[in-house]
């Protein structure tokens, strides 16, 4: 059973073809990493999946339903959550507030002017459980904007998790991090994947992270899908080495 099925997805900006007939299936519980040189169209591909803008052609099937034309918030409501290359959080609110807003939206309370005591207690419980999952429970009262970069990223992932997603899209979760923080976030993603069985698609530059985490690696180059396979297959693929790994070495 596939969580996500993408067929021949294309996005043009004027004369530029940012994404060219890319197809990708993600199985339930799979962790799929997307790699590729700068400008390969990785983030554009993510923006198409999450509904930031519509594709020029192609279809996106999520949990068996065609979501190609749905707005962002409708995709989120169906269980798709994402994080960004540059962390998107509510900096002037506490960690707890950040996750609470996500939790309340996920519980369908976003238009409510009032919720009862039992519902409030239930929301609090969920927030605490989510914070524990990302090891931020001791920092619940801190302003997110004042946290270290790695913790901010963990808070963003917590907000995504609070939406109870069927699919997590993580755009460069370790971008701009030192070794310690990279390790911390990698362990977190590994835990989410192995223990909580989340389906995850992530974009990543750090090959150590990719080879440590991924069940499958997809290589994008100049908007096209160059190769897909296990990390070992990708490492041995000559076309990939030429386009990307060779270039990096």
């Amino acid at each position: 059973m596939n969580v996500l099925e993408i067929n021949n997805l294309t996005k043009r900006f004027g004369n530029l073809v940012a994404v060219r007939e890319v197809s990708l299936n993600v199985a339930k519980g799979e962790l799929c990493a997307i790699i590729g040189p700068n400008g390969a169209g990785k983030t554009t591909f993510f923006n198409l999946i999450s509904g930031f803008f519509p594709p020029t052609s192609g279809t996106i099937i999520f949990d068996g339903n065609d979501i190609t034309r749905l707005a962002t918030h409708e995709r989120v409501a169906r269980g798709m959550a994402r994080t960004f290359q540059i962390t998107e959080i509510f900096p002037e609110l506490t960690v707890f507030e950040n996750v609470r807003i996500a939790t309340e939206v996920a519980d369908g309370f976003r238009l409510r002017a009032w919720i009862g005591k039992t519902q409030t207690a239930k929301v609090h419980q969920q927030v605490e459980a989510t914070l524990k999952l990302v090891s931020l429970e001791t920092k619940a009262g801190r302003l997110v904007g004042e946290l270290a970069h790695g913790d901010q990223r963990a808070a963003e992932i917590a907000m995504a998790l609070a939406l109870k997603p069927h699919l997590l899209l993580l755009d460069e979760p370790t971008a701009g991090m030192g070794d310690q923080e990279t390790y911390q976030i990698t362990q977190l993603i590994r835990k989410l994947h192995r223990d909580s069985n989340y389906s995850i698609v992530l974009i990543e530059h750090d090959m150590r992270v990719v080879f440590h985490l991924a069940d499958r690696v997809c290589v994008l180059d100049q908007g096209r899908m160059l190769a897909q396979g296990t990390p070992q297959q990708i490492a041995a693929n000559e076309a990939v080495q030429a386009a990307y790994l060779g270039q990096a070495a």
């Binding site: 918030h73 959080i89 996920a106 238009l111 907000m159």
Partner: protein
């Protein structure tokens, strides 16, 4: 922390409840306190949108003025009832806001502000030109607030300044209570989420435009109520109450008082109204001094007067 908030809240309401008794010895008069309340309510209504949803409307005087005309026209032509006049003003401001809001909320930033000004000016010119109904440039006259009759208890809000002050304070409390209640609800938190980070809000599954529309509409209802009270304060409705310069005054009160704080705009309105009252008897150029103060506040206390106090306490 929680108890400290309660003490501050109790202090604010005590100051408001006792205003007629401490204003007069300080050289003020009750009607001045009433004006502060009404304009403060308007500034707080604007700030419901500006400070807590993060979108700047520069045409909110339109809904304030519509509230005033709604109340005035009701008293003049429909029914001699003060509560009915307030409800009518509130509905007129709120419903017009709801309709125009559907067009306005698609824009952001400067464009949002420009579109709100444009729609606001439409109402100004309607009030200005439609003399047979609105009295045109002279404003709407020929109506007066009516005494309240509760059967056993009659409250003469027309001639007794203190009774009228407490009536306005009661209405103020209802509207401000509604604002506070909403801001503390899940919906209120989505407003703050949109202010903090629109993209994140969208990717949490919040339909941002719809939520801004609801916040805009609520803000227009509150603004309509403030405008209706303003018509009752003066027994007069003025087309200049719809003009964008009036909108600018409200923005000034909110920013000066502190747009990130709930009560800031009330403080801003108090400073504005009291300065206006005092300075306009000294010089016709009173607005230059208010403007100077505004510039100083923005330069040195960017979070507004109340924001400054809150920060220095923390």
């Amino acid at each position: 922390m929680q108890s400290r908030k309660l003490i501050v809240l109790a202090a604010i309401w005590a100051v408001l409840l006792l205003a007629p008794y401490w204003m007069v010895p300080l050289g003020g008069y009750t009607a001045l306190a009433t004006r502060v309340l009404v304009l403060g309510l308007a500034a707080m209504s604007l700030n419901f949108l500006l400070g807590f949803t993060g979108v700047l409307s520069f045409g909110h005087a339109a809904y304030f003025g519509l509230g005033a005309y709604g109340a005035g026209l009701t008293l003049k032509y429909l029914a001699l009832s003060t509560p009915l006049a307030i409800v009518a003003g509130m509905l007129l401001g709120g419903l017009c806001g709801a309709i125009l809001g559907t067009l306005i909320v698609r824009r952001r930033g400067v464009y949002f502000a420009m579109v709100t000004i444009a729609f606001g000016q439409v109402f100004y010119y309607i009030a200005f030109q439609w003399s047979s109904l609105t009295g045109g440039d002279d404003g709407l006259r020929g109506f007066a607030r009516q005494p309240l009759d509760f059967g056993l208890l009659k409250l003469d809000i027309l001639t007794d300044a203190n009774s009228f002050y407490y009536f306005v304070l009661f209405c103020f409390a209802l509207v401000v209570g509604a604002m506070g209640f909403i801001l503390r609800s899940p919906f209120g938190r989505t407003m703050i989420a949109i202010r903090e980070n629109e993209r994140r809000s969208r990717f949490l599954g919040i339909p941002v435009e719809r939520h801004i529309w609801i916040a805009f509409t609520l803000s227009c209802f509150f603004m309509g109520a403030a405008g209706a009270l303003y018509a009752l304060v003066n027994n007069f409705a003025d087309p200049r109450g719809l003009h964008y310069s009036q909108s600018g005054d409200f923005v000034m009160m909110a920013v000066m008082g502190g747009m990130r704080s709930f009560w800031g705009p009330l403080l801003g309105a108090a400073v504005f109204v009291v300065l206006q009252d005092y300075l306009s008897s000294v010089t016709v150029n009173w607005m230059s001094f208010v403007g100077l103060l505004f510039v100083l506040v923005v330069l040195f206390f960017p979070r507004g007067l109340l924001g400054f106090f809150q920060r220095s306490r923390a």
